[in-house]
């Protein structure tokens, strides 16, 4: 890194309707993590266990939006992050969870909570503590404004590293030469 920022950039991450695979891939940047922690510090993230997101420079969202809690988290990130990034296929287009979209929600829930083999007298949970599912799983750009997108299932460590170093150095990030893939 040629020019270090004057202060450490604050970065928050979250996984919505995703599998944490993108977070795992983030860790796959391996020894670059050492470089990274020299220039950034983490806010809310599964890596820190901070629960509330504060003002940040960069927010990274994995996963699509499948329920009301996802909407709240996503909005909170948008409010607090100057730059918000969609990380991975699910955040970009709904991905695997969105493949439930052609099944009516009632059918989905009944299948899981009432008709699954082994379930007796099952009920669709209605505890007010629980977030309600949306009728369809949506990519995050349909809910808040997103500044950058990193596709991939998951995006590779090198792709994430390239993207972040571009961004931190002030270059418009680009994924080329095999770093861009959708699967």
């Amino acid at each position: 890194m040629s020019t270090l920022p004057a202060r450490k950039l604050r970065v928050a991450t979250a996984s919505l309707a995703g599998c944490f695979g993108c977070h795992m891939s983030f860790l796959d940047i391996d020894e670059h993590l050492f470089e990274l922690v020299d220039i950034i510090e983490f806010d809310r993230s599964p890596l820190t266990d901070i629960k509330e997101v504060g003002p940040c420079d960069i927010g990274i969202i994995e996963g699509g939006v499948c329920n009301s809690e996802n909407v709240h988290v996503l909005r909170e990130f948008r409010r607090n992050c100057k730059t918000l990034i969609a990380l991975g296929a699910c955040a970009v287009n709904g991905g695997l969870p969105a493949q439930r979209n052609h099944i009516p929600l009632a059918e989905c829930l009944r299948e899981v909570y009432q008709f699954r083999p082994g379930v007796e007298n099952g009920q669709i949970p209605n505890d007010p503590e629980l977030p309600l599912p949306l009728d369809k799983v949506r990519p995050i750009h349909e809910v808040v404004r997103i500044d950058y997108f990193i596709p991939g299932c998951p995006p590779s460590g090198p792709a994430i590293w390239k993207f972040l170093t571009d961004l931190i150095a002030g270059r418009t990030p680009r994924l080329t030469g095999g770093l861009l893939h959708y699967d």
Binding site: S68, H72, P125, P128, L132, L134, D135, E142, R145
Partner: protein, 604 residues
């Protein structure tokens, strides 16, 4: 293959036979076959495919393309409310709801007993006497609550349409201002005699001198078209009268066909004489099907009088006849190459050009496609000469133009003006006041604001196929544009990516704004889709489809801006509505079971 009831089977065989088992007649066969049961069950399609010896998938492809062909059951009474903006301004939505309530049905769904279905359709060409509807193809205008009550009652009583009050089906011509064409009194054959006397070349030269240009909107020189077809290789040549008057707000062709059919047919014969064509088609839009019997009668008279058939007017070798081909609810078939595809019994998808239809058109034959009005006007050229015709109008726009006036004015109807007529003069003539804007040339045309009313109707200034819809100060130009975008999304043939997806995306954005979920970011996306539609579409429908939005965003931008609830971003869908199903499944209605659509409301 599932079996058909024997009587239906026999009827179908009769239809196939009448159409000589000819696959190019497929659309006509489907229209006739639908008359048997009111819709087209799967076994009927299978049977038609077998009878024509073509793949069933092709039959299904065609049946699925046209709005007036039904591959699912519809009511024995099929009520279609015309949904042009002028119908909307006259309250068609309220009338549709009222009819549905009285009949205990939901719009778009057939009643359980199969008696009736009620839904909307694109402009039916009765804007001068709306709100309008089609009941089993018969047009009814001047709808009001009283009429709707009576209609509901007659449907409930299952009274056959023939026994409905005749005044319901009366379609007025509303001719308000006559010029050279509408004032013309001509005995059938008179123009043809004059043209025959000049010989084909002499007649073509007269047409050249007239500077007559196509009245369908594009304004191509008619004589050039005719000469190209005449000189194109191929013995068999074809004249097509484009009576697929689908442009919302246009109804002049309806009036010409209703009252001046002889002029139109004579124009086709004049074209045939110049081109050397033997075969003629009138492509009549499905919405005007009720005109067919009287048009057939006029054709019969003309055959009787030796104006159609062999050796016309005793001219050896001048053989020409005309048949009527019905459309079935597809605006895109007004595009000449899509029209030709439809004539050949296919889906109405515009062709790649070149080759142009004048070189390779119907069944690969040189084909002239002319607008109804264009053809009628050739009679004036034949009777009075090209120079006389060119003496009216402007240098680049010779002759007169029929204008179909509708919307906010005292006297909607048909007006014939010499080209060069000023918009303000037209507005004065039809009794329009407090005019905020007019839409000239239909949905694909141009929206003019009051500061442009000094402009003139002419190819070189404000070109038009004839529609002239007036919006006074009480109207919301955003809603006008939205209605037109709904129209284009419904009428896109779906062939090319930008139009198929873009018109639907655009419709989504307009509805988002209308529903109170619009943001500044949406206006940027709208601009972007407009550009893709304009630049990348396959045909004129696609590239013209964003026009209403482009014009109104430029001239009536506040009508959009006042709908925005955010200067930044709003979700692409209604968040709270997306939870409705889950609320219902869990019987929850606590605050946590809802989402505010606007984020600000959430931040306490």
């Amino acid at each position: 293959m599932s079996a058909l009831p024997s009587d239906e089977s026999a009827a179908l065989d009769g239809i196939l036979q009448r159409h000589r088992h000819d696959p190019t007649r497929l659309l006509q066969i489907l229209i006739d076959a639908q008359d048997i049961a009111g819709w087209l069950p799967a076994p009927v399609l299978t049977r038609i495919a077998a009878g024509l010896d073509i793949p069933r998938a092709r039959v299904e492809g065609v049946a699925g393309f046209y709005s007036f062909l039904y591959t699912r059951p519809v009511g024995r009474y099929r009520v279609l409310f015309s949904d042009n903006i002028t119908d909307r301004m006259l309250g068609n939505a309220e009338l549709l709801d009222a009819l549905c309530r009285k009949l205990w049905i939901e719009p778009g769904k057939m009643s359980e007993d199969g008696l009736v279905s009620v839904t909307t359709t694109s402009c039916t060409g009765l804007c001068d006497q709306g709100p309008a509807m089609l009941v089993n193809g018969q047009a009814i205008g001047q709808l009001n609550h009283r009429r709707i009550n009576e209609i509901a009652e007659m449907i409930r009583q299952q009274r056959p349409l023939e026994l409905w009050p005749a005044e319901f089906f009366q379609v007025d011509d509303n001719i308000r201002l006559k010029g050279a064409l509408l004032g013309l009194e001509m005995a059938p054959g008179e123009a043809l005699k004059a043209a025959i006397a000049r010989g084909p070349e002499g007649w073509l030269a007269e047409m050249q001198a007239s500077n007559l240009r196509g009245r369908g909107g594009a304004g191509f020189a008619t004589a050039v078209k005719w000469a190209s077809a005449r000189n194109a290789p191929g013995e068999l040549k074809v004249i097509v009268c484009n009576a697929d008057e689908g442009e919302p707000g246009t109804f002049k062709d309806r009036v010409l066909l209703n009252r001046y059919a002889d002029l139109v047919f004579e124009g086709m014969s004049l074209a045939a004489w110049a081109v050397g064509a033997g075969e003629g088609f009138v492509y009549l839009r499905g919405e005007y099907r009720y005109l067919r019997p009287q048009l057939e009668a006029v054709l019969a008279c003309r055959r009787e009088a030796g104006l159609l058939g062999k050796n016309i007017l005793g001219q050896p070798g001048f053989d020409f006849d005309i048949q009527i081909h019905l459309g079935a609810g597809a605006y895109v078939c007004g595009e000449e190459s899509a029209l030709i595809e439809s004539l050949e019994g296919k889906r109405g998808t515009p062709r790649i050009r070149p080759p142009f239809p004048v070189i390779k058109g119907y069944l690969g034959r040189p084909t002239v496609v002319n607008n109804v009005e264009t053809l009628a006007k050739t009679c004036l050229v034949a009777l009075h000469g090209g120079a006389d015709f060119a003496a009216t109008g402007t240098a680049q726009s010779a002759g007169t133009k029929l204008i179909s006036i509708s919307g906010d004015c005292a006297m909607p109807g048909i007006y014939e003006y010499p080209f060069g007529a000023q918009i303000s003069r037209i507005l004065e003539d039809c009794g329009a006041s407090d005019t905020q804007a007019i839409q000239v040339g239909g949905a694909s045309g141009i929206c003019l604001a009051s500061y442009e009313f000094q402009r003139r109707i002419a190819y070189e200034d404000v070109p038009t196929a004839g529609a002239f819809m007036i919006f006074d100060g009480t109207r919301d130009l955003f809603e006008v544009a939205r209605a037109f975008i709904h129209f284009f999304a419904h009428e896109s043939c779906g062939f090319c990516t930008p139009c198929r997806v873009g018109t639907s995306l655009l419709k989504g954005f307009m509805d988002k704004l209308a529903d109170g979920h619009g943001a500044k970011a949406d206006l940027n996306d709208i601009d972007w889709i407009d550009r893709l539609l304009k630049n990348a579409s396959h045909c004129g429908l696609g590239s013209a489809s964003p026009n209403p939005v482009i014009d109104t965003l430029q001239k009536f931008r506040p009508a959009y801006e006042r709908r925005l609830v955010s200067l930044d971003f709003e979700p692409a869908f209604d968040l709270d509505a997306a939870l409705a199903e889950a609320r219902q499944l869990t019987a929850r209605n606590d605050p946590g079971a809802h989402l505010k659509t606007h984020e600000e409301e959430e931040e306490k």
